[in-house]
Each structure stands twice: as structure tokens, then as C-alpha cells.
Amino acid sequence: MQLESKFLPDFSHIYIESKAQDFDLTQKCIKNFPKAKIIEISDYKSFFNRSRQDFQTQKQSMKLILATKKPPYIYKGTDILQDGGFKNFYYNTPMLNCLYNCSYCFLQGMYSSANIVVFVNQIDMQDAVKSEIVKREYKDQPLMLSISYNTDLLAFENILPITNDWIQFAKQNLDLNLEIRTKSALYHSIKDTKPSDQVLLAWTLSPDRVVKKYELNTPPLSKRISAIKSALHDGWKVRLCFDPILHYDGWENDYLELFNKVKSNLNLNQVFDITVGVFRMGNDYFNRIRKSKPSSDLFYENYNNCDGKKAIDSEKQREINQFVSKFFFDHFDKNKIYFCD
């Protein structure tokens, strides 16, 4: 028998900025959580940026914050975020934080709070994207926008249909491509949307052992593979992300099993591309997480410290890259496999 949790359910409280009250997304949220206690706030930062918050403790009962985003609405891609070969690579933040709680995630070092912020003025973000499309450096290429960089937007789609809204927006702006990175199995929430070549659904896949140990609250591998299968069948462009590939005793067996499952369940000829990465994190984020004494063993390993980043040593990285190459070069166009430096 499972004991009832002593923690309040997620979103037991919704903190709403005064300026965010009248937006559609705010009203939808209030409707979706009729039992939530609503607390009006003047600026989301007064709640989100409080001192001495504990990210992992808050993860046990996440609260929802509805706020209006102020500029900048769009950011240039960073070197930690893979660009997958797109030259005009940007990201934005329709939401901050994630329903999931992956041990290796940089968000726990980036934000002092685990609570989820939804920016309800998506329209301002979309206007900014339109201007950036005009200003983009490489005019022969579209602007590639990652909308799920600081969150897992698709995982939230049952609560607020933000992913769908961005897909519709992309369809009206032909020089815009979207990357929607996810671990979610909620593909069905956008299933009725007509697929678009401008949209890349990027699923992060990990072996079951990694999912159970390091990807808390995420769907199991089998459900993610089913979601990908449906998306490919419906004609969506799909990117497979093996990122991060973790290096631990027995990792080769686990990842071989994962790759074999992928190969046997998916038609790799339909997959758009593959990205591969290892555990890496900016020193600031890593040190902040480490200071909070996380329970995950990942933050107690010895890492290389180079260019302001912590990463596994280059020998292990080479081993991982060779392992992936050996498996996929026989089954997939090697020019469409991107390895993170």
C-alpha cells in the first residue's frame, strides 16, 4: 500500500502577477486548477528569486507562477546547447523550469527556485521572434528557435497548449524553424495538429536504468519510443537526442540495449538527425548545485574543468562518441549525427 504523501500536490498555489491577470493563459490556468489558492503578486521575481530556497525540497510540491516576460524575449544559442548545424540558432523561454526532475539538469543550478514560471504574454515573445527573423545573420537559412530550452514544453501541453500555439505561429512565419526538445510521451496532445517541416520534435532518450535513476518523473523509455513512432508515422520531423550519455560501470550494455530498441522500433530512415552529448555543465551551475548537497551521485564524480565548464574527461567522451559511431554509422547517415564538443 502506498502511503499518502505529506506534501501538497503540485500547483496547490498559483502566484499571479497583477499584470498577468487578464491574459488567456492565466484564465485557462485558473480554470485548470480550481482548488488552487491564488496569490496576487506585483513581480514574479519577488517570489521566484527569494534567497535560501531549496530547489530539491520545492520539487516535492511545485507551485505555478504566472507572469509577464520583459525583454529580452529571445536569446542567441549558447555553446552548451547543441545547434544541430543550424547557423541562426536562438532560444527563448516561454516557461522557466520543468515538471520533470532530471539529476543532471542545469536548471537546478540556473534558478534558485524549482517553481514553474509561465510567461503569459507569449504574443510579445512572438513579436520579438518576427523582428529577429528579419535581422538574422544568415539570410539563406531560417531562424532556428529552441522553445523548450529551459523547460519541457510538451510535457506541459495538457495544462497549457503553448507548444501548439508556437507551432501555429511557425506555420505563419516561413523563415522560422522550431526545435521542441522533450522527454514527454504527450505527443497525442499535438496529434491533431498538421505536421510541419518547420518543426523538429527532439526526443531525449536514455536507457531504462538511467531513466529510473536520473530522470525522475519522466515517462519510461518505451512510452517515449511509442510517442516518437506515432510522430514519425504522422510525418513530423524527429530528432533523437542521446544527451547526456552517462559514463558509469556497465554503460555500454545499457546504451547498446537502448540503441537496439531504437533501431528495432523506429524506422531510422525517417529520423531527421541524431545529436549526441555527454554530461557537461557550466561551473557556476555545477558549483551551485553541489553546494546544495544533492542526493545524486553525479555531482560527486571527478570531472575535467575546462573553459568554465565541468565535463567528463576527453578519453571517456571519445569512448562514448566511438561507441555511438560504431553503432549508428552502419544504420544512419553519419553526416546527420552531431556530436557535442
Binding site: 498555489h13 496569490i39 534567497s51 535560501r52 548537497k293 564524480e301
Partner: protein, 271 residues
């Protein structure tokens, strides 16, 4: 878990002191018994701040402490009931306009309300002043949040009046708190949760061993930091610090010896 009660008035503290058989330390003015502590902070932000500053000089068990500010408050009859106890979910400091938020993570039988901290008692029953009104919560939050995280800052308020302080006296305050003591005790059960305490990799004994090595070897600050970090790595990945045993009794006389010995520790502990 340590419970630290903060009350503005002695009359608010009386029922708690009696229930836990708390004894006052006449030097620090802290009442305590085992892991329950109580401190009277007075009324008004200046006095509260002064008292809290004196309190933190005499208390250091923050890693395992949960704070409960308990006391009476005025309230708007549209929002709260006389004599009822409420858990505060947001605090507005009327003077500065700043807002403070305890993290409400655990289920509780106590209803929630918002609270405004004012500089002077409110007696004219203003209809526009919603929720609860007190005179210390914002100062407590602002000052104590330097010592404990917001999920261990709790504010329980019992409605003594509908913003008319002329009806309050010490006897009434004492009685109001006494009537709600069962709910207070239930609340303490609800928040007595080890998952709310600071996480530690090393236990107390291991920390002492490391401190002994640091003292004996006269390690530099950087070396101290590195030793602590490496010890945590070792404990987390190998679940013990046995490799440090050989270094317990070693001492050094000069920098060269210290650095050599530290390098030996580093090599051992990282292996």
C-alpha cells in the same frame, strides 16, 4: 528537528511554555526544553529586529530548525473568523510594500490567509484592509530568512479582533492561544518532516574527523575546502571515509610537510 517558536508577547507564549515545560535561560532569554525553543521578540519592527539580532548571537542550530511565529492578529471579517487559527501564505509589509512568501509545501488542517504587517495597530475596522493584520511578521521573515529557508518559516495567526484592538487584553490572548493549542500541536506533527531539513553528505562524526585533520595538519583554506569536497565525493561514491584513518594522528611542522601530507591524502581519497 528543532522547533523555534517566536512570539511577540508573553501572553502569546504562555500556553506553549506550559505545554512543553520550557525553562528560561536568564542570560539569553531563550526558553527551551530538549528540541523546543521559544523566544519573545516584542511588538513593533524596531524592537523585533533588535531582539532577533540578540537571539541569533545565542543560537546556532539552524540546519535543523523550523521557525513558527505564533500570535494574535487582527482580521477582516469578510476573510477570517474570530478565534480561528490561520497559516499565513503571503506577507505584505505595508510600510515598504515588499512581499514575503513562506513556502507552503506540506498539507495542513489549518486554513491559509494572507497577512499585512503594519507599523501601528489598526482600530478603525477598514473594509479595504483584507486578510490578517499583524505588527511583526514581515520583520521576522526578512531577518530570519538569512538563517532558515522559506519552507521552514511558518506563521500561525489567531484572529483576536476585527481590527479593533480595544477589545484585546492579556487574558483574552492567553485564552485564544490555549483554545488553538491542539491545532498548533497537529501542525507541528504535520511539519515535522526530515525531508525539510538541510541535506548533508557527511555526518557529525565525519565532520569532526575532518576538522581534526585540518587542525593537526594546519591546512590552508583552499586545502580545507578541497579536503571537504573530496571527502564528500568519497562518502557519496564509496560510502565511507576509512582511507582517512591513517591521517588522524599525523601532525606537520612546516609548509613542505603539510603540502606533502595533503597531497598524500588527496591521492588516497581520490583513488
Amino acid at each position: 528537528m528543532n522547533i523555534l517558536f517566536l512570539t511577540a508577547l508573553k501572553a502569546e507564549a504562555q500556553s506553549i511554555i506550559s505545554h512543553y515545560n520550557l525553562v528560561k535561560n536568564n542570560t539569553s532569554h531563550i526558553y527551551s526544553n530538549g528540541n523546543v525553543f521559544l523566544f519573545i521578540i516584542g511588538v513593533g519592527n524596531k524592537k523585533v529586529l533588535k531582539r532577533l539580532k540578540s537571539f541569533v548571537l545565542n543560537y546556532n542550530q539552524w540546519e535543523s530548525t523550523t521557525i513558527i511565529n505564533i500570535g494574535i492578529a487582527g482580521g477582516n471579517q469578510l476573510d477570517v473568523k474570530l478565534g480561528e487559527i490561520y497559516r499565513v501564505s503571503s506577507i505584505v509589509d505595508q510600510h515598504s510594500g515588499r512581499m514575503y512568501f513562506p513556502d507552503i509545501l506540506l498539507k495542513s488542517i489549518i486554513d491559509e490567509s494572507d497577512l499585512t504587517t503594519v507599523l501601528k495597530p489598526i482600530n478603525n475596522k477598514p473594509v479595504t484592509q483584507r486578510g490578517l493584520v499583524d505588527m511583526e511578521a514581515s520583520t521576522i521573515f526578512q531577518f530570519m530568512s538569512k538563517y532558515v529557508p522559506p519552507h521552514r518559516l511558518n506563521f500561525l495567526k489567531i484572529v483576536s479582533d476585527y481590527m479593533d484592538t480595544s477589545v484585546i487584553n492579556n487574558l483574552k490572548i492567553n485564552r485564544l492561544i490555549k483554545i488553538q493549542m491542539n491545532k498548533v500541536l497537529l501542525f507541528i506533527d504535520e511539519i515535522n518532516n526530515l525531508e525539510l531539513l538541510d541535506r548533508n553528505v557527511l555526518d557529525q562524526e565525519e565532520k569532526q574527523i575532518i576538522q581534526k585533520i585540518i587542525r593537526n595538519l594546519k591546512l590552508t583554506e583552499t586545502q580545507q575546502y578541497q579536503l571537504l569536497e573530496l571527502s564528500e565525493n568519497r562518502k557519496k561514491l564509496k560510502n565511507n571515509l576509512d582511507v582517512l584513518e591513517v591521517f588522524f594522528s599525523q601532525k606537520t611542522n612546516n609548509k613542505k610537510e603539510r603540502n606533502e601530507l595533503f597531497n598524500a591524502i588527496r591521492e588516497q581519497i581520490s583513488s
